[in-house]
Symmetry: D2
Subunit: 291 residues, 4 copies
């Protein structure tokens, strides 16, 4: 049984806290909004007065926040970084920029604090079921210590490399998902142009080398045009900004990534941001029809 500090009881974070408490861990959590308090208490955890406070007596501190600046705020202005003590492990499960992640790793390491970057995939459903896929970057020894806690949250916990590698793997994941959705969307527009039966054609396609989890899970959405999220285009757009900035930082040209990234920006600009990312189909259809 561990003492766990937690910042970020949101749509993903709240069910994660519930799972930690259910596994017998003691959780002290902080959230900015009033609703956060309600969520924390409902999850069976205790409410902290500030980000810094959650570090108090914790074996492990977890953050689960929307974007890079949120993590920087909680650590800096929120005082969490200063409050962390040697021997404690800091696990950032947010999806943020790999370069920022590496900076945080290094500045904490100088003070004897080990960090893991541990972004997740699987979405809200997997957060509730405790079946997230967790991609972990950082020292293997830190993961050894944190593994028991992370196993309450995820079905697979994969050590993918040094500091930042978790974030980079998540970035790679998000670029593949976006490219896949776009590829299937273009295929659908092509199929429709010839009066092909979409349901049977996609079934045939999914049975061969073109098969994918995107096609399996999103086929109904594509066929019915039902794009309730799921995973919002605005969030995927944010993640692709991270991908592009990581590629930029590494001086790597990724032409397909750059293209799908522009298409995601256009989807947001066209007011599709609140829809599931499978609505890239709407964008390419609009692109090919008069208004």
């Amino acid at each position: 049984m561990s003492s766990i500090g937690f910042v970020g009881p949101g749509i993903m974070g709240a069910p994660m806290i519930t799972n930690l408490v259910a596994a017998g861990h003691q959780v002290l959590a902080y959230g900015r909004s009033e609703m956060s308090c309600t969520r924390i208490l409902a999850a069976g955890a205790q409410v902290a007065g500030s980000p810094a406070e959650v570090a108090d007596g914790a074996d492990l501190v977890i953050t689960m926040l929307p974007d890079t600046p949120d993590v920087e705020d909680v650590l800096g202005t929120g005082g969490l970084a200063a409050a962390l003590m040697p021997g404690q492990i800091f696990v950032d499960m947010s999806t943020i920029r790999p370069d920022t992640t590496r900076d945080i790793h290094h500045s904490l390491a100088e003070r004897g604090i080990m960090m893991l970057d541990a972004p997740v995939s699987g979405g809200e459903a997997a957060a509730h079921e405790g079946t997230l896929s967790i991609m972990v970057g950082g020292e293997a020894s830190a993961l050894d210590e944190a593994r028991e806690v992370l196993e309450c949250l995820g079905a697979t916990i994969t050590h993918v490399g040094p500091a930042g590698a978790g974030q980079l793997t998540k970035a790679a994941n998000q670029l593949i998902v976006a490219a896949n959705i776009q590829a299937v969307s273009e295929a659908i527009v092509l199929l429709e142009s010839a009066g092909a039966d979409l349901t049977s054609a996609l079934a045939a396609i999914n049975g061969g080398l073109a098969g994918s989890t995107v096609l399996t899970r999103k086929r109904e959405a594509f066929i019915n045009g039902s794009f309730e999220p799921g995973f919002r285009i605005t969030l995927h757009n944010k993640d692709l900004r991270i991908v592009c900035s990581a590629a930029d930082g590494a001086g790597i040209a990724l032409p397909m990534t750059a293209l799908v990234s522009q298409l995601m920006v256009a989807a947001v600009a066209q007011g599709l941001g609140h829809l599931d990312h499978s609505a890239l189909l709407t964008l390419i259809r609009t692109c090919n029809s008069s208004h």
Copy 2:
């Protein structure tokens, strides 16, 4: 038991003939090269002296040829079209241009001959095992008659729409495969830039929404850089020419398809054409390294 005419006893066609004979069908086949004769006899079929001859007494005539001009040649110069009789069914299992396919459908239909366009996926292995995935365009009634024969060749036979829809579905399939390979290749270059552990990162990625048959089947090739075909880049390039020409014909803009299609052309230009299509990874690596 049917009488079957067959043109094209190549790498794919020869094992298909074997499977037809094994199922008890009588097969009369034609191939241009000397090796063709050997293959036809080895498969237990009889050798015809010309493409036209295979139609003689056939219930069903199958073609399995490399490219659009080959099918046109066999039907025109080879005399097969003229030799086909009302009541016979013509099944073209080659991967060719959908517009040409529709032209052939229509000109045969005027003479009372039903045609199916029935391109396949699954490759050489599936051709041997009789487990091809067959995408069929044309009249449902024609497929009803041909189905028993096609079931000797494929594990799934899907009617995907009217004349040309089979070819278009195959085209859609090939664009998704190419985009997927490119997306995974870009992800790998990104992962390598951060020293991520490729084996574990790709495993984690394949477990979530980014998972795909490409990632499952080609992961080893990507990791080890072993690009023996498999499916050659030159062939995939030919298929993407078909995709682009189909989109062109329909007046549809498919930006990601256009991009990956250019990358496939560049791969051929760089001398990678004889390698498996997963060698798009080599292209993007070359693109990002000094020579």
Copy 3:
């Protein structure tokens, strides 16, 4: 003074005939429509009854037709190819596919007939003024003989290489124009996002290394959103099909060309085909705004 056969008295062709007649040449011309007759007579030329007939007694035969199949029709079904005699020079001033051009060159050469491919730029205005820019592919000796006639039509006549090189140079020209229009359009969308003064910003840009004839001639159209043609998007789209097919035939990857080509297709699909090609600006604006 020469005897000239002419096929294609259209928007470009009619004023070209007028200029030839004004220079003292004898012109026998053919056009398909009733309006063609009127135009030919108004230009001071004589009307032929068929494409073949214009070759009768001609020193030089000129075609100025909309697209590749039109040239093929006039030469084949129209009988012009068969009617041409050794010693006559055939000058195709249409913008068509370089590979078709080369085929025609070769089949005429076998019969002792020299051909020039001589597409033009400059548009309707330059056709009237006789100031077209003419890009000529073929034998230098053929150009020597044809030059005096071509000088009635164009201000600059440039020999750019062997058979097909004229068409390829025109193709290269059209890809640069399209890319330029798209680049300026993207620049404008960027400038508008920051409230920059478009008129002064474009003036400043045009004064430096980013300056271009597109920016000089189309600036007003861009600023005022007045997209009457000029050169129609449908025509530029046709020309970009030629560019892509030429690149395809040569096995060359041209990524930016492929992209702008898709954008031109999308512009047509969105119903902008009748507007001037500078209306690519409308496309990128639409792409970035909610409807």
Copy 4:
């Protein structure tokens, strides 16, 4: 006659100081390196001990620095921002991020200090000749006061809009130049594939709607493959990072910009960074040839 503070006596900055002194202005300048001192003295100006010091008694302070962080450093750590006094005008002639520029404008405005963002085009030669093209963002009244000084440096001084509009116009300029170079490069590869005569084909192209300053000034470089800078690929790459980040910040999708930006990254990755930006031609040639 004005008192001018100047930070950044580099390849561009040094001849600018010379021109200011020649026009009778009193210049106090700071540079980090030892060579800076030599350059400042050679230009006839006085040497300051720190960035902050140049503000002392100045009517106008000019910075001409390589990149965004350099300007931030000089203003922050270097103490220049704190040293500026109400009534002084700050003119940043560096090419930096528009969002950073706007932040600096606003924070200086709060203290009564007016700022102009005034990036230039024209390169080293124009800096020496005092014929730079200067794109100015900020208050018109500030430009009124600074104009006489700027006229010693540039041939055209254009007020293009509010704070940041100067940087954005420069960004727009750089994206057009890059797209133009890439378009011409792709055209050249296409022309070479058909054995066209490059010199005459480019001359013909430059005479029509495809004409551009890039084609005029860089034609020799393209034809001879002589890519000594001029303007380095590394610098253009930096500028395209600014363009992409400005588009990102504004939520605008610019597909062609994104593509050419990836090509510039690839050029750097392939070790071409030290060459003139016209060496994008080398990239597309490499892309289309086996090694």
